[in-house]
């Protein structure tokens, strides 16, 4: 018989693989966005890359609260509740005091707390409810209308004021409407001057990247810094 003729596989560079022929190696990154932030608002906006998109969905299902700093201005009302909308009316505001404002905020907090319990589908008289309340886990785990879990006044210098609002299932426009309604409750009018998200679940302002930090290194660091927190939260809520 004939001797075995050895065949050796060799890789030869071909021009078809040259970057000027093949084109860029990465053409698309799968990116997704977390909770919406409308055009007029600012603040923490969470994005996911690749596998992060699945984590975004999981985080969404944790129904974690978001925190906003909301600025208001007494003295006028507009059609879209913001300070850039069309003027609807002007009113006086000297009769407004911080105490009056805080009284209304307490009422808002009270009604929202009732809504929170109602939508969380928990019988408050059970041991289960007590344990969840202790862990801070009472919240609607499904769809619900916007719920405010905490609201307080940070600053008050007539006609300007600033609130901190903790909420769930909100839209920024809903928060602007609250400012508008506050104005009405205080027998005046108010417009919203700023909606700034300072926290979205486990992500805070400190984690957020500024425009000048939108580069690969910063993004990689940011992902790494949040990884453990995200895992812990998902473990805690979804098990």
């Amino acid at each position: 018989g004939g001797a075995a003729t050895g065949l050796v596989a060799a890789r030869v560079p071909v021009l078809a693989d040259h970057p000027l022929v093949r084109g860029p190696r990465f053409r698309r990154l799968k990116m997704g966005a977390g909770h919406r932030l409308d055009v007029k608002a600012s603040g923490v906006f969470v994005l996911g890359i690749g596998h992060g998109n699945k984590l975004l969905t999981d985080l969404y299902n944790c129904h974690l609260t978001k925190v906003y700093t909301v600025g208001g201005l007494f003295g006028k009302a507009t059609d879209d509740f913001s300070d850039t909308g069309n003027l609807v009316e002007k009113t006086t505001f000297d009769h407004i005091t911080r105490e009056k404002l805080e009284r209304i905020l307490a009422v808002i907090q009270g009604t929202n707390h009732k809504a929170l319990l109602m939508h969380s589908n928990i019988d408050m008289k059970t041991q289960e409810a007590y344990e969840l309340a202790v862990k801070g886990l009472i919240r609607p785990m499904g769809k619900s209308p916007p719920i405010i879990t905490a609201i307080r006044c940070l600053q008050f210098t007539l006609p300007e004021f600033q609130l901190e609002i903790h909420c769930l299932h909100e839209t920024q426009q809903y928060l602007r409407k609250i400012i508008h309604e506050l104005g009405l409750e205080l027998k005046s009018s108010a417009v919203c001057t700023q909606v700034r998200r300072t926290r979205d679940g486990v992500f805070t302002l400190d984690d957020a990247l500024l425009r000048s930090q939108w580069n690969l290194q910063s993004v990689q660091n940011a992902i790494r810094d949040c990884q453990l927190r995200v895992e812990t939260e998902l473990e805690k809520t979804l098990g």
């Binding site: 003729t5 021009l15 078809a16 000027l20 022929v21 084109g23 700034r196 302002l205 500024l210």
Partner: protein, 306 residues
């Protein structure tokens, strides 16, 4: 002759050695959407790649890939390359040039030479022509009539002298190759909506020709912020129109920071005046330490409150 040895049949048995000698390469596809399939079998394409032409970009253009496949490097392409070198395009720019404008390879050499002669007749120097051609690769695809019309258009619309018009197109030659309607509209915006005088517009355009091709929306938004929010008067914007090329976000962030620190002072007649140039052209670190007199960390913290 019946006694001759008949030719071997394809179905005859052959030895192992003979079998190994057979090289069976796949056929070149008759149709493809990418030049990758042909580049290893075409001297022309290979030479273009070695010149620096980005085939992955070229093949995306209308009929450009097809054009390259029909050309022969020695017969068709070489003479155009020599022409471009003669005009003054640098060797290492030939690849990028062809990537942007592969269609020049199909142009008639005489027509190209006529157009260069026309530019020389208009007293553009050789180095100036080289710069224009390199910066606006489509320039030489325009007929002499079209080039003439374009030069005339700018001279009339802007009211600049012949010398200044030429200087303008040397610095921004894509004015000659781009659409003219948007330029007319931008001039209208500057005059009617922004309220600049004709002589102010001439100065602005001469200092920053890019204004003619900028987006109208961006121009209006930037002007609105500079003039109505920051209070910068027209004559100061005319003196430093480069500010219109700056990102609006940068202007806003820096102005807001300066306002927060009580340093937003843009009137040269007052003390601690901050010029527009200092506001926009310095990098972040320098702006923070020299102009805002704060640390960059303070700036970043401030930005997160916006």
């Amino acid at each position: 002759d019946w006694d001759d040895i008949p030719p071997p049949s394809a179905l005859d048995k052959i030895s192992e050695e003979e079998a190994l000698q057979i090289i069976a390469e796949p056929l070149l596809p008759l149709q493809s959407s990418t030049l990758r399939d042909y580049v290893d079998h075409s001297e022309t394409l290979a030479k273009l790649v070695h010149l620096g032409v980005d085939l992955s970009q070229v093949e995306k253009r209308q009929k450009a890939g097809q054009l390259l496949l029909t050309l022969d490097f020695e017969k068709d392409i070489r003479k155009i390359l020599l022409f471009l070198k003669d005009v003054g395009v640098e060797d290492n720019q030939l690849g990028p040039f062809l990537t942007k404008n592969p269609y020049i390879l199909a142009e008639d050499l005489e027509a190209l030479e006529t157009r260069v002669a026309y530019l020389k007749s208009k007293k553009f120097a050789k180095a100036e022509i080289a710069q224009m051609v390199s910066r606006a690769p489509y320039l030489l695809l325009f007929s002499v009539e079209r080039l003439d019309n374009r030069l005339g258009f700018f001279k009339t619309e802007l009211g600049l002298s012949v010398k200044k018009t030429k200087d303008l197109v040397i610095r921004l030659p894509r004015l000659l190759t781009g659409k003219l309607e948007p330029v007319k509209e931008n001039l209208q915006v500057c005059q009617i909506e922004l309220g600049f005088q004709r002589n102010e517009i001439q100065q602005i355009v001469f200092k920053t020709p890019k204004i003619l091709t900028a987006s109208k929306k961006r121009l209006k938004q930037t002007f609105d912020y500079l003039h109505n929010i920051m209070g910068i008067p027209h004559h100061m914007l005319t003196r430093f129109p480069q500010v219109f090329n700056s990102k609006l976000l940068r202007i806003k962030e820096r102005h807001k920071f300066l306002t927060f620190l009580g340093r937003a002072q843009y009137d040269p007649a007052q003390p601690s005046y901050i010029s527009l140039e200092q506001l926009v052209s310095l990098p972040d670190e320098v702006f923070c330490t020299e102009i805002a007199k704060a640390s960059i960390q303070d700036f970043e913290k401030f930005l997160k409150t916006l």
